[in-house]
Amino acid sequence: MTTKLQTKLTTCWLTVVALSIITQGLARNAAGQGFDVVQTTKPPSLRGEITKTSPTELTISVSGLERTIPVNTIVNVTYMDAPSELTGARRDMDSGNVEAALKKLKRIKTETLERNVVKQEFEFLHAMATARLALSGSGDKAVAVRDMRNFQKDHENSFRYYEVVQVLGDLAVALSKYDRAIEFYRELEQSPWKDYQLNAIILEANALTMQKKYSKALTKYVAASQENIPGLAADRLKVLAKIGQATCLAETGKPDEGIQITDEVLDKLDRDDFELHAKAYNAQGACFRNSNKIKDALLAYLHTDLLYFRQSDAHAEALFYLSALWEQDAKRERAVKSRKLLQSRYAGSHWAQQL
């Protein structure tokens, strides 16, 4: 269920990576010139000194003039006095290499971090990396929750506040504490921005889906997909809602409608949006599975397994269903292989525990 919040709330994956590469370049310049740099969805970037943060805003002093930036428009932040390991860890996180990020973070001597915002960023990245590992099934979820909660408690005014709230919700889902998760997502829904609210609704629907409350989830997905919110981030969220909708249709006796939706979605998806591809193929797999079209289902889930295996949660789900489908197709050896991979790579995941 975990998603990259930053990605969802700003722009599509490719744009983020591209911007983040540019930003890193700028940051090196900024560090040299003594600026904090805030990259937003509306260029140009702002260079100056971050003076204040809150859950909804970040204030930066640019040439003595205070500029307030809404959090939902921030793409990236680099700090003039951040060690190179911190910047590198951020880059690793963006490219999904969480373990490398953690290694870099461990090399940082925290006592050398002088400014509070930089310390906060270090703690945030550490907690986020721990959470990502936990959510992929290979880390300790309880530790991740503890670190996130500590961050939330210690830095109530962090501009990362809503990101933290969402991850706490995701961790609650991973721990099967769905009611608690929904509380977090409802808190996220209280944010002042439409796209954040839309994201919260979808996350809540995801949690309902995990509880097999498909009808309730379907209502939320349909509502979300029909929201009239402009912008690339909102468009992407609406696609996510459609994918969720297809899964629920599959599970509520209307798999053919679901197949139609996934066909349309897959047809239009940005080719580099791996996360949405993985989710869409899994939804399609669910539809075929529920239509008793075993071979089509195998083919759908195999897309996630072979092409989008970096999407850990979706990959674990695909492996779970593949192991059952290979059995049905009388390919026991393949079934065992899928099961073993699920157990070894995503041992702590919701899907491995379902075996």
Binding site: K293, K295, D296, L299, L302, H303, L306, L307
Partner: protein, 1062 residues
């Protein structure tokens, strides 16, 4: 075609030709030898078919027939052991059990009853094993119900074997203790057989006990109890037969019981005793099994004696003799030793990481696994996996380190793939070499090299997969799309090579559809299409195949390829595939649609045209046959329907003709192949059908592509069953059709001359053997049928011309020969001509009568040549000639002569059902031809035998009784039964119509009863066609009786009332 396919085909062909051989078989049919041959080759389905056929064969002795049920049972058990599909396996065992029980019930005293009981025990044993396998199939929790069922079967099997042992003991006790083997050799041999069966029975009973243990929970007390009982049974056997092989086998069984009980020291003692036995070849195999079991005991977690296992195991393996290298037991031991060596290396590493033995052990493990991986067998895959797990570092310390970047992984993958291809190339070369080498020593060397090449290729393929998957892990946004596409393509190729088609499809389609401009896109698309085709083929090889998924995707990717890369080789290949699949699925419109998608200039268009054209022609022939069959059935299609269908068929024929002509035009300058020669023959046949025999002959005789020329030159492209015969037939038909079109007498003579030459050529083609002559008659008869069909279908003006042309031809041929077979063919041709000008109802036309007269003369000529000592024709053929002659006389209205002839035949062979049918028809037509008809002859028969006073000609009533009984065991009589019942009712009805008063009513009521009682023997009324005929006749009878003419409805209503009442 592979060697095994070839043998299978030959056996199948031999089997299909078996009815023909029947005519020439002398002496007893070697049933057992043939059966053993079929079963030995694993052709169980053919063996079962054969057993089904001989059941009704009069030539097979009653003694052999008694054992058929036993043989069916034994065949099914053997088949079930090789069957992997569990449901089929279960069905085979059910059928085996049923057959064996039938055999025992019907032949309780037969000497083979003991064996049948043993086989019944085997059925139960196989069933027990099957249920046990199924129960444990789901690894987590075994299915308790299945375990219980398995145990019940084991118990039942034990009872069967124990009973068999008791019976054998009884027989042995009754035998004298001392038998002189020289004086009473048979009795001596019998006692030895009983003794051997007795020991075998004891051994099987103990083994069943041991296997029963597996139906209990692993550590349960019940399991332990059963294992101890089995161990005791083995112990007692070992004590009694210590010096014989049976004693050692029992010792091994005992060791296994102890091993399962966890009493490993005792197990090791038993196995060690086996290792001490003398070194005879049959004992060495058991010793090898024992050594493997010892290794299992030593390496058990409670023992951990890896060093002992490695030392003893390695020593025994070193003692392997050359002929034991490939023995499965030795392979299993080697694999177990390889695993032990790895475990030993790991144990040493844990104690001392730098221990030099670690590497040595791993190298030894690799050597053992490599030997196993060399040869096909069930362990090969496991050995290959072990080699992959061991990795190549142990074997090659200079190997490069693992790649760290996309580029490194990509390069490593490409290198591995290249090496794989080199090994595959070497493999092919060695395969060719192997076929040429005759020296056994050299052969063995090449075989070893081949095994190494295969292994290397497999290993490198696995490496390539590993590296390319690694490359995907490293891939980021910096990686060039084309490079990434290439990696996906390679992965699709690797998965395709491994038979993992779904995976191949996912990778291939990603490239083909996402990056259609990349260099890898087209080959990737080809892999996707090929993968779906392979899936389609494997699905279609199964029973009740549903290939909707596969064909849908084949169409999808095929159309995508054709549209995206139009005009390329790949697009053309895709279209050819689409056409082939469409033809296979009888979607001919689709095939034509795909044909249109070809570029006019495409090199493959001609080939596609030939295939499509031939498919359309085959469809035309099939549909035409179906239409003519339907015209003869009730209800026949209406005139409009018939015309519409005929019009559609004519259009189909025209399209087939055009497509074939275009294709042939395009392909005729290219290389000759089977498709082209078949297409030319098909076009020649179409041209005969469209009244263009001259053009047809031109195609057939074409210097380069003409099938007739190719057949006469014995060209390789026409070397396939039936092609030459079909070509000769078509050519002869062509000449026959050309005769009426000849402009002058000299032209006609020229045509006749050609036809004569062709017939000479055909005769020399089939050869002067009895088999060849039979073939020749077959060709001529089939040609007669084709001409008959052609005349029937021809327009009225052509019909007479064709018939007269054919007559001229036949007369000419008849003047040149006295050969009985050819004369018979000519007579058959005249008979066919009569038939094709005869509606079959009422009086025959003058034209028909003329041809029947010619046939009659010809039949008489044959009979005149074959009287008394001058009889040269097969007696069966002569009977047929007389029967045909009688039928001919009937159609000419010479009923008495016809009945005389039928009577003469039936006096010799009274139970020839087809002759009885013709005789009854003759009586019926005779009655019908009279103004005051008397149908009693048709109903009850006639011509009583003066001695028995029974009618020689049965009539419909007796025919229906005989066939009604016969069809309960042989369905081939079903149709005759319904024909007899229907005509019985029809004759009574028609007879009644010429009577008055009570007589009339009585006949009408009896006619009605003839119909309504039919359902007792035939609940389905013989199918829709017969049912409809019965229904409409019943309505007429009901009308004549003054009843409501509701037909069979009345019966249904009655049944409903009766059911409601009850």
């Amino acid at each position: 075609m592979s060697h095994s396919e070839m043998i299978r085909w030959q056996v199948a062909a031999a089997f299909l030709l078996w009815p023909l051989w029947n005519h020439t078989l002398h002496g007893a049919e070697p049933v057992n030898e043939f059966l053993d041959g079929l079963r030995g080759r694993g052709y169980y389905d053919l063996a079962l078919d054969y057993l089904g056929k001989i059941e009704s064969d009069e030539r097979i002795s009653a003694e052999v027939k008694q054992t058929i049920q036993y043989e069916i049972g034994a065949t099914l058990i053997e088949a079930s052991r090789r069957q992997r599909d569990l449901a089929r396996k279960s069905r085979q065992l059910d059928r085996a059990q049923e057959s064996l029980r039938k055999f025992i019930a019907s032949h309780g005293e037969h000497p083979m009853t003991t064996l049948a009981n043993k086989q019944l025990g085997n059925v139960l044993l196989e069933r027990a094993r099957l249920n046990l396998f199924r129960a444990r199939e789901s690894a987590d929790t075994p299915d308790k119900k299945l375990l219980d069922q398995s145990r019940t079967h084991f118990t039942e099997a034990t009872a069967v074997f124990e009973k068999m042992v008791a019976e054998l003991r009884g027989r042995l006790e009754k035998m004298p203790k001392v038998i002189d083997s020289d004086k009473e050799s048979e009795l001596f041999d019998l006692r030895e057989t009983y003794r051997a069966q007795y020991v075998q029975g004891l051994m099987v009973a103990a083994t069943v006990r041991y296997e029963t243990a597996a139906t209990f929970e692993p550590k349960s007390e019940e399991r332990k109890k059963v294992l101890r009982e089995a161990a005791d049974a083995y112990e007692s056997l070992h004590e009694k037969y210590r010096r014989r092989m049976a004693g050692l086998l029992a010792l091994f069984g005992q060791g296994q019981c102890y091993q399962e009980l966890g009493e490993l020291d005792q197990a090791l003692t038993a196995y060690a005793d086996i290792m001490e036995a003398e070194d005879r070849p049959e004992i060495r195999a058991l010793k090898t099994k024992a050594m493997k079991a010892m290794i299992q005991c030593w390496t058990h977690e409670s023992q951990g004696k890896y060093e002992a296992a490695i030392k003893q195991g390695s020593e025994w393996v070193k003692s392997a003799r050359p002929n034991e290298q490939r023995d499965p037991q030795w392979m299993a031991l080697r694999l177990a030793l390889a695993r032990t060596l790895i475990a030993g290396a790991d144990a040493r590493k844990a104690a001392k990481p730098n221990d030099p033995f670690i590497k040595r052990y791993r190298l030894d493990a690799r050597a053992q696994a490599k030997l196993v991986a060399r040869y096909p067998g069930h362990l090969q895959k496991e050995a290959r996996q072990l080699l992959v797990d061991l990795g190549s570092v142990a074997a090659n310390p200079d190997e490069k380190p693992d790649p760290k970047t996309f580029a490194e992984a990509n390069t490593a993958g490409a290198e591995a793939l290249e090496e794989m291809q080199s090994s595959r190339w070497l493999e092919k070369k060695l395969e060719g070499q192997l076929n040429r080498v005759s020296d056994p020593k050299k052969q063995s060397e090449v075989e070893d090299q081949l095994a190494d090449a295969r292994l290397t290729a497999d290993e490198r393929l696995a490496d390539a997969a590993k590296y390319f998957e690694l490359a995907l892990q490293f891939a980021d946004q910096e990686v060039d799309t084309d490079q990434l596409s290439a990696v996906y393509y390679y992965l699709s190729f690797i998965h395709y090579s491994k038979g993992e088609f779904y995976d191949a499809i996912v990778f291939a389609e990603y490239v083909a559809r996402r990056n259609p401009d990349s260099t890898s896109a087209r080959p990737a698309a080809k892999i996707s299409l090929a993968s779906f085709v392979r899936l389609y083929q494997s699905v279609n090889a199964e029973e009740n195949a549903d290939s909707e998924f596969e064909s849908k995707h084949i169409q999808d990717i095929g159309q995508y390829i054709a549209a995206t890369w139009r005009g390329t080789v790949e697009a053309d290949e895709a279209l050819i595939t689409l056409i082939n699949i469409s033809i296979q699925q009888k979607q001919f419109d689709d095939a034509e649609k795909y044909l249109e998608m070809f570029d006019t200039e495409s090199a493959r268009r001609g080939e596609a045209e030939l295939r499509t054209g031939q498919a359309l022609w085959s469809k035309y022939l099939r549909d035409m046959k179906a239409l003519s069959e339907r015209s003869g059935q009730a209800p026949p299609p209406t005139g409009d329907e018939l015309n519409a269908e005929k019009k559609d068929l004519e259009e189909l024929k025209t399209r087939a003709k055009k497509i074939l002509a275009d294709g042939i035009e395009r392909m005729k300058e290219g290389e000759l192949n089977t498709t082209l020669s078949s297409a030319v023959l098909a076009l020649a046949q179409i041209l005969l059908d469209t009244g263009e025999p001259e053009l047809s002959s031109q195609y057939l005789e074409d210097e380069k592509i003409g099938p007739l020329r190719l057949v006469q030159d014995n060209h390789s492209v026409v070397q396939r069953p039936g092609f030459a015969e079909e070509t000769y037939k078509t050519a002869l038909r062509g000449y026959i059709s050309m005769v009426p079109l000849a402009a002058s007498g000299s032209d006609r003579d020229a045509i006749m001359e050609k036809a004569q030459q062709l017939m000479n050529s055909l005769e020399s083609f089939v050869g002067d053997t009895p088999e060849g002559k039979r073939k020749l008659v077959g060709i001529y008869v089939s040609l007669a049928r084709d001409v008959e069909k052609q005349i029937k279908l021809a327009p009225a003006d052509m019909k007479n011309e064709l018939s007269s042309g054919f007559e001229t031809f036949l007369t000419r041929v008849s003047e040149t020969t006295t050969d009985g077979r050819v004369l018979n063919w000519i007579a058959e041709m005249f008979f066919s001509l009569g038939n094709s000008n005869d509606s079959g109802e009422g009086k025959a036309s003058e034209m028909a009568k003329h041809f029947y007269q010619r046939a009659d003369e010809m039949y008489q000529k044959i009979l005149d040549q074959n009287t008394g000592d001058s009889e040269t024709l097969d007696p069966n053929l002569l009977i047929r000639v007389r029967m045909r002659m009688a039928t001919t006389k009937r159609r000419m209205g010479h009923f008495k002569d016809a009945i005389d002839l039928f009577e003469a035949i039936l006096k010799e062979r009274n139970r020839m059902v087809d002759v009885q049918v013709e005789a009854a028809i003759t009586y019926q037509e005779w009655a019908q031809a009279n103004k005051n008809p008397d149908y009693r002859g048709a109903i009850t028969g006639g011509r009583p035998d003066p001695k028995t006073r029974k009618n020689t000609i049965w009539g419909w009533a007796n025919l229906s009784r005989v066939t009604g009984t016969a069809m309960t065991t042989s369905p081939k009589y079903k149709d005759t039964f319904h024909q007899a019942r229907y005509n019985l009712a029809l004759c009574r009805y028609r007879h009644a119509l010429h009577k008055k008063g009570k007589d009339r009513t009585d006949y009408l009521k009896r006619a009605k009863g003839d119909i309504t009682k039919t359902v007792v023997s035939s609940p389905d009324w013989g199918g829709p066609a017969w049912k409809s005929k019965f229904n409409s006749l019943l309505k007429q009878i009901q009308g004549s009786l003054g009843e409501n003419p509701v037909g069979l409805e009345a019966r249904r209503s009655k049944q409903k009332v009766s059911r409601a009442g009850s």
